[in-house]
Amino acid sequence: MLDIQNLHVDVDGKSILKGLDLSINEGETHALFGQNGSGKTTLVLTIMGFPRYRVTEGRILFKKKDITHLPVNERARLGIGLSFQHPPAIHGVKLKDLVEIAAQHGNRPFKTAEVAETINIPQDFLARDVNFGFSGGEVKRTELLQLLAQNPDLVLLDEPDSGVDLENIELVGETINKLLDRDKRSRERHKAGLIITHAGGILKIVQADKAHVLVDGQIACSGNPGELLNDICELGYEECVKCPR
């Protein structure tokens, strides 16, 4: 579903991604590890098409179509959805309105209030300005609500569990499982996912098929998520940097 080839990306004139290759098939969920500043967020924002993230070389194929230079909204319409790590707060734009805008591209009926309730978002919250005064956990859950409405085929999740309190972590994990078809048998899964996680906590609930370690703008290592995470926990990211693989 997603095929990234030799991707080079500059942000404000600084080179961040330096020849990155990554493929994610339909039904697969991949995890992406990496130190702060290694380029994880840059990668998902580039896949989403943020104009600040300038592709200088390489290309991004989605559903076999070259989307390297498509605007953000067209990528969204093609079926790419992103849960932001730190989304902006926007005065006067109501959460409910934004969810309903997202649902217009979801190709299925969506009952905002009902779904919101299932992820502990109270009714009065829907009438609030999006992300304004939301706690870290509320931001994450409302991001997931927008994605549930949008129903994307490729789900990009940037640190979906950071700031989420313990009592909601299970709920967030289960919601991600639903978004990624992880609650279905493997042959019935059609969604693809890429989860950025620095500490890997969310992977206790969301089973990823494969994991990658990003070091200095390139995939330094790929493999079994559990094993990679164990290595990182034991040896630290410093070892990944030194690792000759």
Binding site: F50, N73, G92
Partner: protein
């Protein structure tokens, strides 16, 4: 010398007096005379293009969900009616004939010699409205008043008196606009508000002028003990020159004045708009909130809170948004505390839309233009407490029908 003579003399002396703010308008290039228009039995009898045009400023010709209506075409009051009990809607000349006491209110909240425009309103007076809620009368449905300017090169000089008597509740929506075909004109509007003890009055003014029209509203309010006055001003359409700086005086204990302005200036428009509140008694409260957007035009957004008494509280907020590469927003917030133990604050911010916000909305499928519109609409979506839903809806409609905002 009689009171009337004294006022006339003061006005005569101020005939050439330039206003403290805003470009000077040569009044001699306008006429204050216009052919009389016939009265109508219902607003539906007005020419249909006038009906449609006034709809855009919150005036409903069907008079649904209204407690009364007033319509002035050029210098003629063609319609006035109150449909709620204990509420009066009259032309101000009729009211002056009917009530001898009304002269005690005449030029009490606005000085007749403030500048050449107040002088013009006194000397070349072309009617206006009188709206009164009698003591204890509470109306939730608004009264609508329209000032319509159709005569080419007319100076429409109106003088309005609004009285909310003790314990009453009154909501007014005033729509002012020019006929689509009118090129050149000026509207001088004096409005004096008297909000008596325990009364509540909201006044929502939606303006839709032409690109060659000058506008000089001159408003003042006197707010007594435990009373609340809410002023909402919306001007989102082109205007050559608009300048107003109304003065709201909180004279009784626990009086509240709230002012909200929503402004949008395209190229060629100059707006100098603000509000002043003087808090003269204990526990007075005030908010002066403005949202200004320039898309090539110039906006000076003023605000002044003055505390003359201990134990008062006020907040001034001015936010400006610059769209495109041209245009200017100049925010002038002023706090003036002359006594100890006052609590006044202000915040002002002027900038462009953060690209990050636009892109965020685009990730949910909105085009760049639609995302920008949503943010601009959101910027103007100020929650105004104490205004009935019908009026909130009119303000929202004005926002949504503005080109460049409500795409």
């Amino acid at each position: 010398m009689s009171k009337v003579d004294e006022l006339t003399e003061r006005a005569e002396k101020a005939r050439e007096k330039k206003a403290a703010y805003g470009p000077d308008i040569p009044l001699e290039s306008y006429t204050s005379k216009a052919p009389a228009h016939q009265k109508v039995q219902t607003l539906k009898m007005l020419p249909s293009n006038y009906q449609n045009q006034s709809l855009g400023v919150g005036i409903d010709a069907k008079e649904e969900e209204r407690s009364g209506s007033f319509f002035q075409l050029d210098t003629s009051v063609v319609y006035s009616k109150a449909s709620a009990q204990n509420v009066e809607v009259l032309s101000v000349t009729e009211a002056l004939d009917k009530y001898d006491w009304l002269k005690d209110y005449w030029w009490k909240a606005v000085a007749v010699d403030a500048d050449k425009y107040t002088a013009q309103a006194a000397l070349e007076f072309s009617n206006g409205y009188f709206i009164r809620a009698k003591a204890g009368a509470k109306t939730v449905l608004p009264i609508q008043a329209c000032m319509f300017l159709a005569q080419e090169s007319l100076s429409q000089n109106v003088h309005n008196i609004i009285i909310a008597e003790e314990g009453s509740e009154l909501h007014i929506i005033t729509g002012c606009r020019t006929a689509d075909e009118l090129l050149h004109g000026i509207h001088v509007g004096v409005s004096e508000f008297f909000i008596k003890e325990g009364a509540k009055c909201s006044f929502t003014m939606i303006h839709n002028w032409g690109p060659e029209v000058a506008v000089r509203p001159r408003s003042g309010a006197i707010i007594e003990r435990d009373a609340t006055f809410i002023s909402n001003y919306v001007c989102l359409k082109p205007v050559k020159s608009l300048q107003m700086y109304p003065l709201f005086r909180c004279v009784g204990a626990n009086a509240t004045a709230l002012s909200y302005s929503l402004l949008y200036a395209t190229e060629g428009s100059h707006m100098d708009v603000g509000a002043r509140v003087i808090m003269e008694a204990e526990q007075c409260k005030s908010d002066v909130i403005s949202r200004a957007i320039t898309n090539g035009g110039e906006i000076i957004s003023r605000g002044n809170l003055t505390a003359l008494h201990r134990d008062v509280k006020g907040h001034l907020e001015c936010r400006g948004l610059i769209l495109g590469d041209h245009g200017r927003i100049f925010a002038v917030p002023e706090l003036d505390g002359a006594v100890p133990d006052v609590d006044m604050s202000h915040e002002a911010a002027v900038g462009k839309i953060a690209e990050e916000e636009i892109t965020y909305l685009m990730t949910r499928g909105l085009s760049e233009d639609d995302a920008t519109s949503a943010i601009v609409r959101g910027f103007l979506d100020v929650e105004i407490k104490g205004v009935p839903p019908a009026l909130q809806e009119e303000m929202r409609r004005a926002i949504h029908t503005t080109e460049g905002i409500g795409l």
